[in-house]
Structure formats: C-alpha cells, structure tokens
Symmetry: C2
Subunit: 362 residues, 2 copies
C-alpha cells in the first residue's frame, strides 16, 4: 500500500488530480492545448496576486533558479544563504560563470534586512536572490522587509524562490515588487513534479531582452512570446498542465484563496502547538517559522528511523528526516498543499502513540 506523504515535497496528490494528469495527450500547437493553457494562466495570476506575466517552464524549480541568473544578471548577484537550497542557488551562479556574493547567516536564522541594505548600498549588484521558505530549515524569510529595502534600489532585480510556499503561503508578488517568483508543482501546488510556475515582472522581462547569453531552454523573452499566444516555446509537460488547470480551478473557485491561506495557517498553528505539547523544539528562530513545513530539533537519542518506519508500517504514511548539513539534528513535517487540519491531528496522534511506546520500552 502507498505511503501517504507528509514530506515537504513531492506531496500527496489528490486522486482527482492524478486522474486529471492522466488525460489523453493533445498536440501542443493545437486549440485544445491553447484552451487549457489560456484558462490556467489567469487563475495563476490570481493566486500570485499579479497583473504581470506568469510563465510555465517544463523543469524543476532548479532550472528556473539557474535561468533567472542567466537571464537577469549582468553585473553581480547577491544571494541569501541560510540553508541547503539557498546555498544551492549561490552555487548555481558559479556553475554558470555568473559573479556572485552571498549574504550568509547560520542555518535556522533569517538574513536581516539591515544587512541586505548594507550590501546593496555598495552598488555592486543588479540581482538579489532570496529563498522565501527554506525547505531544509523551515525558515521563512521576511519578504516584506526585503521588499522595503529593495524599493531603494529599483535597478536591482528581486528574485524569490518560493518553492515550498507558493500556493500555500500567501505571496502578493506585485505588491512586494518581486521580479521573479518561482516554484515547482510538487509542493504546495499539490501536484507531481514537472513544471515550474514563474511570475516575471515587466521590468525583468525588459532586462532579459538585453541579456547577452541568457540561454535557450529557460529564456524569459522567448517564453513570454509563446505565452502571449497561449503556448510554450518547447513541448510542455502536458499532464502537469492538465493537473495545474484542475488545481487552479479548485483553489480559486472551490476552496477560495482566503480559505486556502487560512487552512495553511491553521495547520501551522496546530503543528506548533503539538511541537510544544510533545516537548519538542522548532529549529528556526522565533518569528521566522515557515507556514507550510516545520523543521523540528531531534532530542538526544531520538530514533527517527523507528518513528518513520512505524508510521509507514502501521498507518501507511511518512514524515521526513532532516536535510543536508542538519540531517542528523532535525526532522521535518510538511503541512502543505491539500492536506486537511484533521489529517495533521491524526498524524500527531499516531506519532504521540509511537513515541509513548518507545519511551516505555526505552
């Protein structure tokens, strides 16, 4: 039997969405395709609170993290580093010969806006990249505060990796002045992997048009040209588009945006309460906790492998170990996508019961 996923991506996909992705294929230059594409984009814009472009790239988010640097950086990029995925974005610059500096703080902490301001004031940078929701540490960056800082530097492109937050944690992209906001479909979108949903500002698009070697597969200008005629430049992941169309309809017209944001906040609140009651401690510093996943410190001698094994064996579900450098010190529970508050309550009851037994036998 399949293990229900409480891991921070890929997430559990509703059976209705799995059936949506399994529809027969259509030609990607046909009206049938364009109908689905053109019905999906306006819904994506609502969910991202933007009147600018939302484009679909057939790759995981990493592809567009790389593409953002190649399309937009002409001087030097500044990147926050406070976990595995933000560190990866910094490394991507190196793999592409893009000059880059990092604003690094220890894992579990968020980069402070004052430090961002100080760095940007040097005038060296034309791109700033931040990971909104560090999937490795459960730290949520203070985007609103970064946004205030960025207003002083209108020539700096504000690029946000919203991988494990988009469609779960409300992000008003236009109001925040984001130039790029990207996320793969396998996290809060509640779909399998395959596409990267990307909001791109008009300002970023204008700058991308002046790039010397922007690359071809993730090319903002080309993607917009095709998107304007309800297509993509390269054959898209049609099954994922079918799923995304169904899911956007669900989010906007069935669940409702505000209800979706509230449900995620409710799941976060419940999880924090459980963490406290169970005697655990969150890994992120207070005030910077992710809304969509919780990274929790392992107490001394905590047997994660046994816990997850028992969850799988008895209840056909799994949570996640820590990631990267803090793999041994932490574990993670996702509360994202289409998970219900009641499912989280049930999960915590199961975990409590397993841990209680372990204590008895310990």
């Amino acid at each position: 039997m399949h293990d229900r996923l409480f891991i921070p991506g890929p997430v559990e996909v509703r059976p209705e969405l799995l059936q949506a992705i399994a529809q027969p294929q259509v030609g990607h230059r046909t009206q049938a395709y364009m109908d689905v594409h053109s019905a999906t984009i306006p819904l994506l814009k609502k969910i991202l609170y933007t009147e600018q472009d939302v484009l679909l790239f057939t790759c995981s988010a990493t592809g567009v993290m790389e593409g953002s640097l190649r399309n937009l950086c002409q001087k030097k990029a500044l990147l926050t580093v406070n976990g595995a995925f933000s560190k990866r974005w910094y490394q991507i610059a190196g793999f592409n010969g893009v000059p880059a500096d990092k604003l690094e703080v220890p894992m579990g902490k968020a980069v402070m806006p004052e430090d961002l301001d100080k760095a940007l004031a040097t005038g060296q940078y034309d791109v700033f990249c931040a990971v909104f929701n560090e999937t490795s540490t459960g730290v949520r960056a203070p985007l609103e505060k970064y946004s205030e800082v960025l207003k002083k530097y209108p020539d700096v492109m504000f690029c946000v990796d919203a991988v494990s937050a988009m469609a779960g944690d409300k992000i008003e992209t236009d109001k925040l002045g984001l130039d790029v906001c990207l996320a793969g479909t396998q996290k809060c979108w509640g779909l399998p992997t395959g596409m990267c949903v990307t909001m791109i500002s008009n300002k970023a698009m204008a700058k991308a048009a002046t790039a010397k070697a922007p690359g071809y597969y993730v090319n903002f200008v080309d993607a917009k040209k095709y998107n304007d005629k309800h297509q993509t430049p390269h054959t898209p992941a049609i099954p994922i588009l079918f799923g995304l169309h169904a899911q956007c309809n669900h989010i906007v017209n069935e669940e409702g945006l505000d209800n979706r944001w509230k449900r995620h906040l409710d799941m976060q609140k419940l999880t924090h309460q459980w963490v406290k009651d169970a005697g655990f401690e969150l890994f992120p510093e207070k005030g910077y906790e992710s809304v969509t996943l919780s990274c929790i410190k392992k107490p001394e001698g905590f047997d994660f492998k046994n816990l997850n094994g028992q969850l799988s064996k008895r209840h056909h579900c799994v949570i996640s170990n820590g990631y990267g450098d803090i793999k041994e010190q932490t574990f993670r529970v996702a509360h994202m996508a289409d998970t219900k508050v009641e499912e989280m309550k049930q999960l915590f009851k199961w975990i409590d019961a397993i841990l209680a037994e372990a204590n008895v036998t310990a």
Copy 2:
C-alpha cells in the same frame, strides 16, 4: 471526444501508460523511488544498445540539446542544419555564447559524410551535433556514415538528437560511437512529455568533468553522480518515470526489441506505398526517409485544413501540418510509438475517402 494523435509528437499514449503515470507520488530520495529508477535504467540501456550511462533529465529535449553544448564544447561546435530542429540546435549555441559553425544543406536533403569529413579536418571543432530524424522534414541522417568519419576524429564529441526516432528506429549507440544521444519521452517512447532520455559516453563524461561553466540543471557529471545511486540531482518528473518504467518493460519484455523495430519499418513501408498509390510525393530525398514519420508534399490546391478537420470530425483522429519554413508546402503523418500497422491502414482508408469526396466536389 479525444482526437487520436497521428502527429509527430506528442503521440497517442496507451491507456495503460496513462494509468501508470497517475500512480500516487513517492519521495524522490526513498527506496520506493530508487527501486523504479534502478529497474528502468538497465532496460533503457538495452533499448539504446549501450553499456555506458543513460541518464534522465526532467525537461524537454531542447534542455539537453543546450546542455550538451554547455557540458562538452570547449573549442567550437559543428552542427548539421537541414530543417527546423537542427537549425534550432545551431541557434542554441548562439544563445549560450558557444562558438559554432553550421554544415547547411537545403531542407529535404541530408548532410553528406564527405562534407562532414572536410569540415572536421580543419581541426577547429571539438563537438559535432547532428539531428538524426528531422521532425520538420522527415529526413533521416546517415548516422552510420557519420560514425565512420568520426572514427578519424576521436577528440570530437558526436552528439545526436534522436528526438523523433529513439525507441522506434533502432540506434546502436555504442557501436556508432555516439557520445550523446537524446530524446524526449513524447515521441517514439509513447509517453507524455516531461523527461529527456540521454545516453552519455564515458568519454563525454570525462570531458564534461573539465568544463568551466557547464551549467547546473543539465549537468552531466552531477546527473551521473546521482544516477549511480539510482536518483536524480533535482526532483524528477516522477509520473513520467513511472510511465517509462512500464513502457520499457513492455518494449523489452512484451513486444521485444526486434519486433518493435520491424513494426516501425512495416509502418514506414505501408506509408510509402500509400503515398505512391495516392499520387503524393515524399519531401525527403530518396534514401534518406525517416522510419517514424513521413513528410509529404502538398499537391497544388491541396486543402489540408479540410482533410484534418474531416478526420477529426468523422474519425476522431488528426495528422499534422508542415512545420516552420515548409509549413505550407508539406504535411506530416507520424507512424511511431505504439501505433499498429492496422491503425495506419485504417487512417489511410479514411484519408483516401475524404480526398475522393473532395475531388468529386472540386
């Protein structure tokens, strides 16, 4: 009702494969994922006749066409140009700042091995790129002859776009000495888009390890590192992997490789006979016709739109218009993936009937 696709990709996907892709998701760092990944790769190696690496990238083929140049070209690339997709590969070089020359012949023709030899003899090039099966013109390049030439230039990387041929037209990658052989899943693989299956030689892998700015998302060395532990560096298109696993099993263990190649040759033969009988003419020059798709010249006054409209309306199937510069002069019929000879026979009967009516009313 859904139109059955006789277009050169995306192709019709068998219902069993659509159900395979709609399985519940698994974590991409779990044993459940690794079991499917590690069961699929050896089957892919059989289908590609290689003992070297076969890697999976989550993007359409264009992503790996770009990646091949970035990972492998350190001097200058030489690319055949004889259609829309080979022209694209040449353009990709420009978008990436990779120095490149083209060996161009008119559409419908194949680049001759003598010309390739002459160009390589200049010693300028370290990468040679050829499109095996030009989806726009239906021209099949003489890979065996290119292979003979390349033996004289062991330092030149031999990269082949096999997009609309791989898994339909037999390609013995090791015997041909290919360094890269790539194809998206939405053509002869008989699956939806989402992954690019890529054979990479040990020689190419060694060279990629010395690249200065190979890029990150399509990074050969990184992809191999993860593939060796039955994973991918970035979250893969898990639904497509599920489908690919089922399809590889079908190809190797149910249909059988030789039967699959023979069925494609039979469909080609049938199509050529129909073209002749119906008074049409093939677009490619004789001796260089694709095994998997036929590009056919439109006779004077030929109403393709009516033909395809009637096919859709009466028989719920579609063929394809021409592509790019020869869109108005040609139309295309795909005979690839899991299409049966009987289905092609039926399709041609339907087309004949529609054309007979059109002649009467003309």
